[in-house]
């Protein structure tokens, strides 16, 4: 079902041209600019595949191309991540039922060398961190190539309909979606930034003094990006938790639900149970209510709410119960979620018998935390350390966000889970620092780095910064 009325977003205006796609041969209405899975969901199709071994139904989970839960056959091509692939008129989409059988008559393909892009700085990820890095690296004089595997820039920002906190310089009081627009405009203004969308980085490699980022554009073309420095700003991925039937369609990451309703105007479901009362879970609750979806409850395993007080108060005012010291035991349903069973837990996280509650819901939203997306950094050999305060495994880096490999920088959520505000500041620092390390920026830019570092320090001096600082102590080196 599509949202027609929304207090903040006007989807009628935003939707592209109407096209028709086919699911198992049946025509489905879709709009240009939306991904396949969004169009399917709008048409009520939630089961996208069945697993090969156990025949379990599969549905959307992360909506950012990372979990592989949405693989389908598109125009005869198997294993397409339908959450980051845009619809095209006449597209044929089918469920994958078995491992593929290959044709015996195939001909060897002709070998062609890939397209080559040369830049001073290659930035992977076009969220707030990557965008700010691009803007500042470019202003410092660098030629920038920016790639993102999603079809639009903005990263997580494009789903944030609420107004941001923080300082005015970092867009406090502005809605996340709007910040994404502003940053995108700034990037477009700069001629020495080249943007590559729908382009996944599949490898980060060192060739003597240059860094090579191997990208795949639109699932089909290989592109080689070379630069003197690389900034990894690949964001985060959602955590999973173990409970019975935790693989049923209708169990979505919080981010995926935001993508559905806030980016594409698709109603995620009718009745939702949210797991996790951090900021993400709380914000999600009122965004859902805004979109006309009923939120049955928020379940939180800790004895107290993790998110900001204002967010919690707002959610409570809207009548959503927050059950602390509770966890989910089980999802039930045949092909998709029909209900959820939760229970109270004791200090040792053990469920207390007799405390089970049943919620009749068709969506379970997991907002149990994010973890940094460090795959590229890990793969290239940057040193990794476990810092739970920053969301898990992160890379060791210095104050200018240079990792243990010279010329490779990190910024934003991929450096440690924080906020868009800090991601932007880190992006700025990494962008300038990379331009300096590439020998392009003049030393005056050091002042801008110091300014941003001071702003970061101020931002982290609040009560919520304490945890982050503790994490940073473990991983920031001189």
């Amino acid at each position: 079902m599509r949202l027609t009325e929304h207090p903040i977003l006007n989807f009628q205006e935003r939707r592209g041209k109407k096209v028709t796609i086919y699911f198992e041969g049946q025509p489905i209405e879709a709009y240009e600019g939306e991904t396949i899975v969004m169009a399917l969901h709008a048409a009520g199709i939630r089961v996208l595949a069945h697993t090969f071994q156990k025949d379990r139904p599969r549905g959307l989970f992360c909506a950012i191309g990372k979990c592989a839960s949405c693989l389908m056959t598109v125009n005869g091509i198997p294993n397409v991540r339908t959450c980051i692939t845009l619809v095209e008129d006449g597209m044929q989409i089918t469920k994958q039922k078995a491992k593929p059988k290959l044709p015996t008559t195939a001909k060897p393909p002709k070998w062609k060398d890939p397209e080559k892009i040369d830049a001073d700085i290659v930035i992977i990820g076009g969220g707030p961190a990557g965008l700010m890095a691009a803007i500042y690296a470019s202003d410092a004089g660098a030629k920038v190539a920016l790639l993102d595997e999603n079809p639009m820039l903005g990263g997580q920002l494009v789903k944030q309909t609420h107004k941001f906190f923080g300082k005015r310089e970092q867009f406090a009081g502005v809605r996340g979606v709007k910040i994404a627009d502003i940053l995108e405009e700034e990037v477009k203004k700069r001629e020495n930034i080249k943007v590559f969308l729908e382009t996944s980085a599949i490898a980060l490699l060192q060739e003597d003094d240059t860094k090579l980022v191997v990208g795949v554009r639109k699932n089909k073309e290989l592109v080689e990006f070379r630069g003197k420095a690389v900034i990894v700003a690949t964001g985060a991925m959602e955590r999973m938790i173990p409970f019975e039937n935790n693989d049923l369609p209708g169990i979505y990451g919080a981010g995926a639900i935001q993508t559905l309703m806030n980016t594409y105007g698709v109603k995620p479901g009718d009745r939702v149970l949210i797991i996790g009362a951090g900021n993400v879970g709380l914000i999600l609750a009122y965004q859902l209510i805004q979109a006309g979806v009923e939120v049955k409850a928020i379940v939180e395993a800790l004895p107290k709410i993790g998110g900001y007080f204002v967010h919690a108060a707002k959610v409570r005012r809207l009548g959503v119960p927050i059950l602390t010291r509770h966890t989910i035991l089980r999802a039930e349903g045949k092909e998709k979620v029909e209900r959820a069973i939760v229970a109270q837990i004791d200090e040792n996280w053990k469920p207390i018998p007799g405390t089970e509650k049943v919620f009749e819901v068709d969506v379970i939203a997991l907002a149990v935390g994010l973890r940094p997306s460090i795959e590229l950094l890990h793969q290239v050999g940057c040193q990794i350390k476990y810092a739970p305060e920053l969301g898990g495994h992160v890379v060791i880096r210095d104050k200018r966000l240079e990792t243990t490999i010279k010329g490779i920088f990190v910024a934003g959520d991929s450096a440690g889970i924080e906020e868009a505000t800090t991601a932007m500041l880190e992006g700025k620092i990494a962008g300038i620092a990379a331009a300096l390390s590439a020998g392009i920026a003049s030393p005056e830019w050091l002042k801008e780095i110091e300014k941003a570092q001071k702003e970061l320090d101020e931002f982290r001096s609040g009560p919520f910064g304490r945890k982050v600082l503790k994490g940073l102590e473990k991983v920031v080196v001189e």
Binding site: C62, L205, K220, E221, R330, W349, K350
Partner: protein, 93 residues
């Protein structure tokens, strides 16, 4: 922290590629507690998501069951290509 009590391990999935909590617990019961080996015996982390979602959950199960601190459990290295890539694409057909 995670809860592993009062749930049916055969119906609880650690990995989207059909690896259940039971699969992991069975290997742990044999006295094998190394994530690197559990990965290879159960195939957790060896499928299409390349371990992005499942490997940490598996590590948490090991931590919960053995008392090993999470910081002691080394994540298996990510390998190129970090997204599954079609052979035809490498060939640029």
């Amino acid at each position: 922290m995670i809860n592993l009590d009062k749930i049916d391990p055969e119906k609880t999935f650690i990995c989207g590629c059909d690896v259940t909590l039971k699969d992991i617990l069975d290997v742990l019961d044999e006295g094998i507690t190394d994530l690197e080996i559990i990965k290879r015996l159960t195939r957790v982390g060896m499928g299409f998501c390349q371990g992005r979602y499942c490997i940490v959950t598996a590590a948490q199960v090991i931590s919960a069951k053995t008392g090993k601190d999470m910081k002691e459990i080394k994540l298996p290295t990510s390998r190129i290509p970090i997204k599954p890539v079609k052979i035809k694409v490498i060939a640029n057909e």
